[in-house]
């Protein structure tokens, strides 16, 4: 136990030191920072503070108490400034030392299959392409290695050291004293305000924008798609690196100092920024639904799902509950949005109103769009299978509602709701196409149209293993049967009457003089056949079957009926014509001519009217 004078002496000299550094009192005190000086100076000051604090217990006289309190306040005010100063001087934009973005060499197929314009924003002056990885260098040994080496991506939490350990030590010694003097709140305030502006700067670097919900509603979707991509990248960095590192920093400085301070400091710092970060995703989740938004919304949903566990870890404290809740809410809204969009998409197909028949009976843009869309859906199968849980709202076969097709579920037992939806989409697509086919005046063209489109559907399904697996081979068979049926219908519609001209009946007459064939009837037949064929040829050359194989097959099928019939007709009856006048008027075409003519069919081009005459 120290003799009173020594204690008093110690207190006095401690006071002196503290007063010397009172920045309200002297210019010199304002100009220099204690913690910029040498270790000795720092230690001296800290010891002085400790001494004064200790003396609080021993001092009894009110006057002395007042002095001591006064000294403590001055010391605390000073320490607060020192604290701030240390923080500020080690808080540049975080990126300067620790985060470097580099270009990854292997491109990944873009989710929508469409090339987005390369985004060109300078982050540390590097040009960033679609796939961006973030690399971390702790401390100053930032070797900017070449882009060929493997990079660690932001797939999991990676804390980085935001502040060098020496500074941490100093900060901690200050915090310790402030907290034990009861100045915890001031400490937290300073800490929070400096770290917050650091976070602000980091956000700017990451390109996180301050858009309002109103702003986002007004932006074009293409613009938003780019922003979503950017946001996903930024969010990963924010949550897994920035916020995690802030948490670590708080722990480094405040842990074990007697209060739940490391927690509240952290929350104080990141709550606002976290909310700001999520505001964007939230705004997207409540935007108006339309089909083209599905895939980016799913991307956002998936990114968020991926991040949620880390959000839960980083924001595990009770006071951060609202952030966790918000993140989860946004995820579920995005899921809902996805479901809504799918529903919207189905409606849109059903109601798609264009009444202009596609020239040439070729593939309708609606068909292409829908099939491309559901191919993409099958790419997102993993997510969507979980999200889509209800069956499509099909009409019931007893409803008699002519505006909605119906679909039997019995035979589709055991399929996932997603698969049912995909099948349903194909059902309503056909339903709509059926309506469109009726716009063609020519029934043959209507059949050709259906054949083309259903065939396209089949090809697309076959072309995607995931899609095929979900649609199922049973339904695929049905579809195949359908386009074959359409082909058959077409043939009947066009060729029955043409071939009718080449039938035997009605040409033979009983009579004594003639050879048994009515020449006039025969001439009629030839004329009719020629006219019909010319018509069909002229018309149907302009029709189009885009698929090479299908076109070939149909032509062959036509030929198989037409050519033998004509050949046999010619063979049997040509002599009768040739023995009469002007045979060439009636026998205009040779078999070869017809064979050649058939090759014109379904090419989508008009042909000249002059067929090659028979060259005999």
């Amino acid at each position: 136990m120290e003799p009173p004078e020594n204690t008093a002496g110690a207190i006095e000299s401690a006071e002196k030191i503290i007063l010397r550094w009172d920045s309200t009192a002297s210019e010199e005190a304002r100009e220099r920072m204690i913690f910029d000086s040498d270790r000795q100076e720092i230690d001296r000051y800290l010891q002085a503070v400790d001494e004064i604090q200790r003396s609080m217990e021993s001092v009894t006289v009110t006057d002395d108490q007042n002095k001591v309190n006064g000294a403590i306040q001055i010391a605390m005010a000073r320490l607060e400034d020192e604290f701030r100063n240390i923080l500020i001087s080690h808080t540049g934009p975080v990126e300067a030392e620790s985060l470097v973005e580099s270009v990854r060499s292997t491109p990944r197929a873009d989710s929508t299959g469409v090339d987005f314009p390369e985004e060109d924003y300078s982050f540390e002056d590097s040009v960033v392409s679609k796939e961006v990885e973030v690399e971390f260098h702790v401390g100053e040994s930032s070797s900017r290695s070449s882009s060929s080496s493997k990079y660690q991506s932001t797939t999991s939490i990676r804390e980085i050291d935001l502040i060098p350990s020496e500074a941490i030590y100093d900060l901690r010694s200050i915090a310790e004293r402030m907290i034990s003097a009861g100045y915890f709140r001031e400490c937290v305030q300073v800490y929070g305000s400096v770290r917050k502006s650091a976070m602000d700067a980091s956000f700017r670097q990451l390109g996180i924008e301050k858009l309002s919900i109103g702003d986002i509603q007004r932006l074009e979707w293409e613009v938003l798609e780019t922003k979503i991509k950017k946001w996903i990248r930024a969010a990963k960095v924010c949550i897994r690196i920035l916020f995690a590192s802030e948490k670590k920093l708080c722990e480094q400085i405040f842990e074990g100092l007697g209060t739940a301070s490391d927690d509240s400091c952290f929350i104080e710092t990141v709550k606002g920024p976290a909310i700001q970060l999520f505001n964007f995703a939230e705004a997207i989740s409540i935007s108006r639904r339309s089909p083209e938004k599905l895939f980016k919304i799913l991307d956002l949903h998936d990114a968020l799902s991926d991040l949620l566990p880390d959000v839960d870890v980083v924001f595990e404290s009770k006071s951060a509950e609202s952030i966790r809740v918000q993140a989860a809410e946004i995820q579920s809204r995005l899921a809902e949005a996805a479901r809504g969009i799918l529903s919207e998409f189905e409606n849109a197909i059903l109601r798609e109103p264009s009444r202009i028949p596609v020239p040439g009976g070729t593939i309708h843009p609606l068909t292409r769009y829908v099939m491309n869309y559901i191919s993409l859906i099958s790419d997102y199968k993993q997510t969507l299978i979980e999200l889509i849980v209800s069956k499509p709202p099909t009409g019931s076969r007893y409803s008699g509602d002519p505006t909605t097709p119906d679909m039997e579920f019995a035979e589709l037992e055991g399929r996932t709701p997603l698969a049912l939806h995909l099948i349903w989409i194909i059902v309503i697509l056909q339903f709509n196409l059926d309506g469109k086919s009726k716009l063609y005046k020519d029934a043959s063209l209507a059949h050709l149209f259906m054949m083309n489109n259903v065939h396209y559907i089949v090809q697309k399904i076959k072309g995607s293993p995931e899609l095929r697996e979900m649609i199922g081979d049973d339904y695929l068979k049905k579809l195949t049967g359908k386009f074959r049926q359409a082909a058959t219908s077409y043939q009947r519609a066009t060729w029955v009457r043409v071939l009718y001209c080449l039938r035997d009946e009605g040409l033979h007459v009983s009579g004594s003089f003639s050879s048994g064939v009515s020449k006039s009837a025969l001439r009629e037949r030839f004329k009719t056949f020629n006219a019909m064929f010319e018509e069909v040829h002229r018309t149907q050359a302009t029709w189009l079957i885009p698929d090479n194989q299908l076109r070939e097959e149909l032509r062959i099928s036509i030929s198989e009926k037409l050519i033998p019939a004509y050949r046999s007709f010619l063979g049997r009856f040509r002599s009768h014509i040739e023995s009469g006048k002007h045979p060439e008027t009636y026998i205009k075409y040779s078999v070869e001519d017809l064979e050649t003519a058939v090759l014109d069919f379904f090419e989508g081009y008009p042909v000249s009217q002059h067929l090659r005459r028979r060259s005999q």
Binding site: N69, G214, G340, Y369
Partner: protein, 407 residues
């Protein structure tokens, strides 16, 4: 919430449509009744919110006879919680009136074909205001913490110079923040900077070139683009509010108008009370025709609040929230005390200060209610989002929304 919600309601509405023709008359009666009930409830709830008491005197400007404040003092946190509750109830009823059992094709015809998109636009703005308010509340919490430092310091006995300086520092910071943040975007920015420093430099300020605390308070609060303005949002929300003339076919124009007015009022009151970006020029009255019976209570409230706003606007106000106003007053008084403090303090002075400190402590405690208030604001946010989605759904059904051009 159930994943099937969207699909289910879609089907329900279709079947409702099919049934509509059959039970038209019965439905119509029911609809009228619902409309009347809705109106009546709005009236009731807003009457409830009216208080005839002026804000009670603070201990700072009269004798220390600080009785407990009644919970529903106008523009107090408790009052706002009541207001938001009332809003949620009105909103729920409104949605029922608007959507359930309604023939959706009505939405495609006048006047709804114009009114509904306007309403939707308003809701988007309201959502942004909600977000701004959430951040504003964070700022107020920050002030609460600063005030608490002052309270802790001045509760010490005997009051020493150290305590007083500490309190002064913290309360000065508080007062600076209160004026600074609001005026920051103001055109009289220069003047206010002067004025704020006239509070006296915070004791022990660090070397000037490193002092960025003023700036950091800014970054604490605003997380919207510089161009966003709360007063402009409110302005836009109220600009096309027009009372419907009687006798329109659907009978829905009136409830839409009522609900819109309620929405605008709530948002406006929040903006007036809680600091958020750019509130200069906040409108102080709304074109609600006085003769509308259901609006009387609301108009009364509007006038009171508008008056308060006008009074305070000239000096610059950090927010009309009752607790903020009192906090500002008491803090200023305590700062004055601190400026004139000499150790040892006289007994009566100490007593006076003690009363004020108690009041400040009580205000801080009241401010704990800010957390549930924030949650309520969030609830309002959700509700608006939900209703908006449902209205959009109905519109989609009608096909009035541009059938998405697929290709």
């Amino acid at each position: 919430m159930p994943a099937t919600d969207n699909q289910g309601s879609f089907l329900n509405r279709i079947s409702i449509r099919r049934n509509q023709v059959v039970s038209m008359d019965v439905n119509h009666e029911q609809e009228l009744e619902d409309l009347e009930l809705f109106q009546k409830h709005v009236v009731d709830r807003f009457s409830d919110l009216v208080t005839t008491q002026p804000p009670p005197p603070t201990a700072a400007d009269s004798s220390p006879d600080s009785a407990l404040m009644p919970a529903d003092t106008l523009l107090s946190i408790a009052w706002f919680r009541k207001l938001l509750d009332a809003f949620l109830c009105c909103e729920a009823e409104f949605k029922a009136v608007l959507i359930m059992g309604r023939d959706p094709t009505q939405f495609a015809k006048p006047p709804l074909d114009r009114l509904i998109p306007e309403l939707l636009d308003r809701t988007v703005k309201a959502l942004d205001v909600c977000n701004a308010i959430t951040h504003g509340v964070e700022l107020v919490c920050h002030w609460q913490k600063l005030a608490q430092i002052g309270v802790t310091a001045l509760e010490q006995r005997p009051i020493g110079e150290g305590h007083v300086r500490r309190a002064k520092k913290s309360l000065n910071t508080l007062l600076t923040s209160m004026t600074f943040d609001d005026k920051e975007n103001n055109s009289h920015g220069g003047k206010s900077t002067e004025r704020s420093w006239s509070f006296g430099r915070r004791g022990g300020g660090a070397s000037v070139n490193k002092d960025r605390t003023a700036g950091t308070f800014r970054s604490l609060s605003w997380t919207v683009a510089k161009s966003w303005s709360a007063s402009k949002q409110i302005q836009a929300m109220s600009s096309n509010l027009v009372a419907p003339r009687g006798g329109e076919p659907t009978g829905l124009a009136l409830p839409v108008y009522i609900m819109s007015t309620v929405l605008v009022f709530v948002m406006w009151a929040l903006v007036a009370a809680i600091p958020c970006q750019e509130r200069t020029g906040l409108a102080t009255h709304f074109p609600v025709p006085r003769q509308l019976v259901w609006a009387q209570a609301m108009i009364g409230l509007q006038e009171k609040i508008g008056e308060e706003w006008k009074k305070k606007e000239k000096k610059g106000t950090c927010g009309l929230l009752e607790e903020i106003q009192r906090m500002e007053k008491v803090s200023q008084s305590l700062v004055d005390f601190a400026d004139n403090f000499q150790f040892p303090a006289e007994a009566e002075k100490v007593e006076e200060v003690a009363a004020q400190v108690t009041e400040l402590a009580e205000i801080c405690q009241k401010m704990d209610e800010l957390v549930p208030l924030q949650q309520q604001v969030r609830e309002v946010f959700h509700r608006i989002v939900r209703s908006r989605a449902e209205v959009l759904d109905v519109l989609d059904q009608v096909g009035k929304m541009s059938t998405p051009v697929l290709y």
